[in-house]
């Protein structure tokens, strides 16, 4: 599903932040991505959700070489990827319902086509009573679950999460992990970038460790 081969990335004329990164994410797998701050986790995620092109190497997503793909074809690939950002990136002028429905709207679906699905999903993540609330009045956990609901509403094949438990208490962290595990059981490939060792210990999923721009796999 996801294949990196000797991928390198540098910003401008600076040093390489990722060096010869190679790994494979099988369909339906669950992995953690960890490493110290500044190791290149966010850069790797940016490559994965197509916010950045590599300086060198091959990146294959869903069987497509995205490293050299024309930008007009990238949205179709992005629709197969759900992203949960550490800082949530919710749109403050839209309600929880509208934030979660956004991926469906960009696909041209009308409200009557997705209304029930979105409400059901919000119930599933425990936000059934907050559908008309705006992000500024949500708690950190509610924002996190809204971001997760938005990431999964389009039934992505690949779910990427950047420090999803960074802003929530341990209890909510465990709950979110259960949520990711459920999604994985439904067939979604999951990669979670985290520093949270407790989270990784609970899951026992294999890890990729990034250090100084180089990656090693820990089964």
């Amino acid at each position: 599903m996801v294949r990196f081969e000797n991928v390198g990335l540098r910003y401008g004329m600076g040093p390489e932040v990722l060096r010869d990164v190679s790994f494979l994410l099988e369909d339906g797998s669950f992995h953690f991505l960890t490493g110290p701050s500044g190791a290149g986790k966010t850069s790797l995620l940016r490559l994965l959700f197509l916010a950045q092109r590599p300086t060198r190497g091959l990146i294959s997503l869903f069987g497509h070489d995205v490293a050299s793909m024309p930008r007009s074809r990238l949205p179709a690939i992005r629709r197969g990827i759900g992203v949960v950002f550490q800082e949530f990136k919710l749109l403050d002028h839209l309600t929880v319902f509208d934030n979660v429905a956004l991926p469906l709207r960009v696909r041209g679906m009308r409200p009557d086509m997705f209304r029930t699905d979105v409400v059901e999903l919000l119930d599933w993540v425990g936000l059934g009573e907050r559908i008309n609330a705006y992000p500024p009045v949500l708690s950190g956990g509610e924002k996190q679950r809204t971001a997760i609901a938005r990431a999964v509403v389009g039934r992505p094949r690949l779910l990427l999460a950047d420090e999803p438990t960074g802003n929530v208490d341990p209890q909510l962290g465990r709950r979110l992990l259960r949520l990711f595990t459920e999604l994985n059981k439904l067939g979604t490939t999951i990669l979670i970038a985290t520093h949270d060792f407790h989270l990784m210990e609970q899951s026992k999923a294999p890890k990729f460790v990034l250090e100084d721009g180089e990656m090693t796999a820990v089964p």
Binding site: F49, L50, A51, Q52, R53, R71, S72, L74, P75, A76, R78, R79, V83, K89, L91, H93, L94, T95, F97, D98, L102, P103, R105, V106, R107, R110, P111, D112, R115, T116, V119, E120, D123, G128, I131, N132, R150, G154
Partner: protein, 327 residues
């Protein structure tokens, strides 16, 4: 309780829950705007586009009046020529006028020839010289007003030569010099009018480009999220266009209505009654015989449409250009 019945109970509860809350969402028949109204793309933009639309109305109305006046003037001038005969002794003058009239009426293409009396000629000079004794002493030329066929006009050069030969002191004035001067002057006004329209359009485009950039800059996070959830450039452009369409239509209507009021007020102010002597009104002196008619106001309906079209196309191109620089 079996697993199956538990599932059914949960499904029933969920359905009940949904049924209770769906009415809150039923009003969402239409999608809410993804791009918030902010910064320069909001009210300030509406004010500026309103002013531009108003200026466009003024230029458009001016062009209509100029074009109509030119048509009226040139039509009248093309069908009228004048024969002037130097004044001499009364008996000679009458003889010369009679000869000239005979030649004129016998010329194919001349539909009418009427000699003006000395009194009528003096009246033409009164607005400039007054009605005093001085006017009576002036050697005013004898005038013959000649109407010619527009379809088959006479050969004016031959007619002029014949008149000069038969009637010493006679001169045929075909108003060609005036016609050329008027056409030159009105041509300049026309160019000026079109130039103003062009400038207003260019200024509107520049303003919309600036506002689009400002809107895209202040909504960078929105655009970024839209990209991440798989929005194509066209979808993002449509969101921005929708906002600019709404602003430009409202601004165009405001500017168009202001233009309508201005021309209606001008029409009222300038359409003063003729003066006591039957002379032209101030409005006619300024604008000629042409007036801004009721049907001409319908032109102002195109102003909001043109404003909206210019704004939407400009915003779309600006957005696509900006998006082309991001991955």
């Amino acid at each position: 309780m079996t697993v199956n019945s538990q599932d059914k109970k949960r499904a029933g509860a969920l359905a009940g829950n949904l049924a209770m809350r769906l009415p809150q969402l039923q009003w969402r028949r239409r999608n809410v705007a993804i791009m918030p109204d902010v910064g320069a793309a909001g009210k300030p933009l509406m004010v500026v586009i309103s002013v531009m639309s108003f200026l466009a109305c003024l230029a458009l109305g001016g062009l209509v009046i100029i074009n109509r006046s030119v048509n009226d003037w040139t039509r009248d001038m093309a069908s009228q020529v004048t024969v002037q005969i130097k004044p001499e002794a009364k008996a000679d003058s009458a003889k010369k006028v009679a000869t000239a009239l005979r030649i004129l009426r016998a010329t194919p293409g001349v539909t009418n020839a009427v000699a003006l009396s000395r009194e009528d000629s003096l009246k033409l000079l009164e607005p400039w010289l007054g009605a005093g004794a001085l006017l009576q002493e002036l050697p005013v030329p004898l005038l013959i007003n000649v109407t010619i066929s527009k379809r088959r006009p006479p050969d004016l050069a031959t007619l002029s030569a014949e008149l000069t030969r038969a009637v010493p002191g006679a001169r045929l004035d075909d108003h060609n010099r005036w016609q050329k001067q008027i056409l030159r002057a009105t041509g300049a006004f026309r160019i000026f009018g079109y130039g103003v329209l062009l400038l207003v359009s260019a200024a509107t485009i520049a303003i919309v480009v600036f506002a689009t950039r400002a809107a895209m800059s202040s909504n960078r996070d929105v655009v970024e999220v839209l990209h991440f959830v798989g929005a194509r450039d066209n979808f993002i452009a449509v969101q921005v266009q929708r906002h600019f369409l709404s602003v430009a239509l409202k601004a165009g209507v405001i500017g168009g209505f202001a233009g309508f009021l201005t021309f209606a007020a001008l029409r009222g102010l300038l359409a003063s009654p003729r003066d006591a002597d039957g002379g032209v009104s101030a409005g006619q002196l300024l604008l000629g015989a042409a007036q801004f008619g009721i049907a001409d106001y319908s032109l102002f309906l195109f102003v909001p449409l043109a404003t909206a079209l210019i704004s939407v196309v400009t915003a779309r191109l600006a957005v696509l250009r900006i998006l082309g620089h991001v991955l």
